[in-house]
Amino acid sequence: MSKKEISRRTFLNYALMGTGGFLAAGMITPMVRMAIDPILKPKASGSEVAVGSVDDFGPEPKKVDFKINVVDGWHKAESTNVAWVRKLEDGSILALSPICKHLGCTVNFNDPSGKPNEYFCPCHEGRYAINGEVILNTPPTASLDMYKVTVKEGKVFLGEKEKNPRGGVKG
């Protein structure tokens, strides 16, 4: 026997706490696991979609819409994604996602409210240069995401979004 005996009342209190803890955990655990499932689900990988031939694109960014298959819970739908595609000086293709890196609004090229030859976000006046480089001292902290571009037989395929390695520029 240990030196410090616990009284009957303390023991019963501990037992009560243990039982209460078990009751609470037994009820809540399945519910919480269900609620946090989206965090733990593995991300689905996307496929590549053709958006046109290489010759369709020039130095001026062109807005293309392309259909992707989206699984949204119990809805399986075709959704339209938007990319601004331009041919770089070295002939490679750059496809930018128009989702502003600040708060997720949609940016527009040559917007009437913005400056010429720039992407402009109407929400908080974020600006990006022609290759998606964020213009310093505007709200966004990163450059516009790009789609993974593959060129097969003269056709441009867009894949998943990836980070734009270009840093910010002075505007």
Partner: protein, 257 residues
């Protein structure tokens, strides 16, 4: 265990005392000064105030229909987001360069966080006994500054938003709501490829605009150009008929005002 009066009697085997307390209101003379009983004296006054407010509220709801814009279209890149008015000050705050960019944390957590924490902790930050507002100038002053900022930011946000809508032009400012009573011409019913996106009565859909009043802001030649060359998510060459039919369709669309 609570002590029990041995002589007390109970209702049956319950713990309810058999002795009934009389259910009578105290006389008004028992209330000192102009104090009132809650029921019915004061509650009547509260309900009269509530009645006045309810009338005003009902007049508001009858005279102003709740807004309902077009169905959500995640691909619409021209839509300018606008939060409900009571979040505008937070939304506007994030526009300023000193709380955006690399200082965005300051804007999202710093400024609002400090303000809200200060509100919750107000009883401990302003712990003096003095209750009158003008005798505790620091608390009152800070509150007035906060109020000024909230009003100013809300006004600024609304101002910016109005200016942006004006820059975009009237078409973007007020997307035409679909008219459920609109009946499309028989010619439209034949254009199955158009209907699949723009709807049987031109009401538009998740990926295509409402065409019920397309003639208001598009000239016939523009309409023809869109039909043949496509626009936005609309691919070119959707119209399969003869040039003559195309002309008829364009004229019909241009007449919709």
């Amino acid at each position: 265990m609570a002590k029990i009066d041995k002589d007390a009697t109970f209702v049956g085997d319950s713990r309810i005392s058999a002795k009934r307390i009389p259910n009578v209101s105290p006389s008004y003379s028992e209330y000192p000064g102009k104090n009132e009983a809650f029921w019915p004296d004061f509650l009547l006054k509260e309900w009269m105030v509530a009645a006045v407010c309810l009338v005003g509220f009902l007049v508001l709801t009858v005279s102003h229909d709740p807004p309902l814009t077009a169905r959500a279209n995640p691909n619409d890149s021209s839509f300018t987001p606008y939060p409900d008015w009571y979040f505008l000050f937070l939304y506007q705050l994030l526009k300023y360069p000193w709380v955006a960019g690399k200082y965005v944390l300051l804007g999202i957590l710093g400024v609002p966080g400090v303000a809200f924490t200060a509100m919750i902790l107000a009883p401990w930050l302003d712990a003096g006994k003095e209750r009158r507002a003008f005798r505790r100038p620091i608390a009152t002053g800070l509150m007035f500054i906060a109020l000024f900022c909230i009003f100013f930011l809300t006004w600024e946000a609304d101002h910016h938003h109005t200016a942006q809508l004006a820059a975009k032009g009237p078409a973007a400012a007020a997307p035409a709501p679909a008219d459920p009573n609109f009946k499309a011409d028989g010619m439209w019913a034949a254009q199955t490829s158009c209907i699949s996106c723009h709807g049987g009565n031109m009401e538009g859909g998740p990926a295509a605009p409402n065409l019920q009043k397309v003639g208001t802001n598009q000239k016939p030649e523009d309409i023809q150009k869109i039909i043949t060359e496509g626009k936005g998510g609309m691919p070119p060459g959707m119209f399969k008929g003869s040039d003559e039919d195309l002309k008829k369709l364009v004229d019909y669309l241009a007449s919709l005002k």
